[in-house]
């Protein structure tokens, strides 16, 4: 690939392969001459690929929900069973927890154990609050005989929202593990990478929840 210089004489910064000065030169790591990229970058990039595949998994559940949303089999539709109030509180919990999770990674950068614990604990409590509300909603539906077996619509609804809830539960276990590991081992580079991946995971769950509350709950209430 030939590099086309800009009119100002600068090298295109988006050019692939070894980069010329002033972009760190061909000996920059991850660009050929400089050897492999640092482990921090490789690990986070690999986890990013995993998260994208997780998003693809959710997109399958979204697609099946969109196809089955009207297959209510004379049972309840979204309009009958969704309440905007509890969804608003769940959304607030997750948005705030994304912010506190970001605060925790900043505290890690600043090597402040106290702020790390505080931010992670708040994130955990907000996540638990979210799970409590969601469990309440599911129990309420099942007790009214509107369980996942009632109609294809409810099957799709429970699989989609339940899959997200399962991810949040796993995320909370991961969060507690990270707090314990930072407590036991400190901010070692390997622990740092794990916390970093956890933060990516948690932010991604929030993105999926944005799609769920808009396209499942609010769309259901409207129609």
């Amino acid at each position: 690939m030939t590099s086309v210089p800009f009119s100002s004489g600068e090298v295109d910064p988006y050019r692939h392969g070894p980069r010329a000065e002033p972009y760190r030169g061909p000996d920059a790591p991850g660009h050929g001459g400089g050897g492999a990229a640092p482990k921090r970058v490789v690990v986070a990039y690999g986890f990013w690929i995993f998260l994208l595949s997780d998003i693809v998994l959710f997109s399958c559940l979204f697609a099946s929900y969109a196809v089955l949303v009207n297959a209510t089999a004379d049972g309840p539709s979204g309009h009958d069973i969704f309440s905007r109030g509890s969804v608003a509180i769940e959304t607030a919990c997750l948005l705030a927890s994304s912010f506190t999770c970001g605060t925790a990674s900043l505290a890690m950068e600043a090597r402040s154990k106290l702020w790390f614990y505080v931010a992670m604990a708040v994130t955990c409590l907000l996540g638990l609050g979210f799970l409590f509300l969601e469990a309440n909603e599911f129990i309420g539906l099942v007790s009214q005989d509107y369980g996942p077996g009632r109609s294809a619509f409810l099957t799709a609804f429970f699989s989609l929202v339940g899959c997200h809830g399962l991810h949040v539960s796993v995320g909370i276990l991961w969060l507690l593990t990270m707090m314990a590991q930072v407590f036991a081992k400190g901010f070692r580079p390997d622990i740092e990478r794990r916390v970093f991946c956890f933060a990516l995971f948690w932010h991604t769950l929030d993105i999926i929840w944005v799609a769920i509350f808009s396209l499942v709950y609010l769309m259901g209430v409207v129609s």
Binding site: P13, Y14, H16, R19, Y23, R24, A28, P29, G30, H31, A37, P38, R40, V41, V43, A44, Y45, F47, W48, I49, L52, S53, I55, V56, S59, C60, F62, A63, S64, A66, V67, R84, A88, T91, L95, A96, S98, F99, G102, T103, S105, L106, E109, A110, F196, A199, L200, H203, T204, D206, I207, V210, A211, F213, S214, L215, L218, M219, V221, V222
Partner: protein, 131 residues
Amino acid sequence: MTGHDAHGQDWDRAPGEEYINGLGMGQAFALYGVGLFLAVLLTAVSFYISGTGIVWKPSIPVALVVLAIAQMGIHVVFFLHITTGPENTNNVMALGFGILIVLLIVVGSVWIMNHMNHSMLPMQQIMQMQR
């Protein structure tokens, strides 16, 4: 752009890294605050228009989709720190491929299944044919 990030060792950036062009800790924190503010704003608008008659009714689902996509963009930029800079090319490429697959799955399924629903005989006629 200096080409040096906060760690001073490489140019490529991992997804989610906070330091953008060597921002300080306070600025990085403020950036999360801006993201939270924008996300809350878009969420509030979504909830608001789904509950009032202020918007023309058939346009509400479209508005909800647009607001959701906008909010996901806010999350990607302010929380996952995926930018369009040259140090983020790999991350953006992966994201672009992910979006392509998601669109293929969702739009393809909805399109095909609607089409099949459309060309299916009405239920009563099927029942009559079975007699």
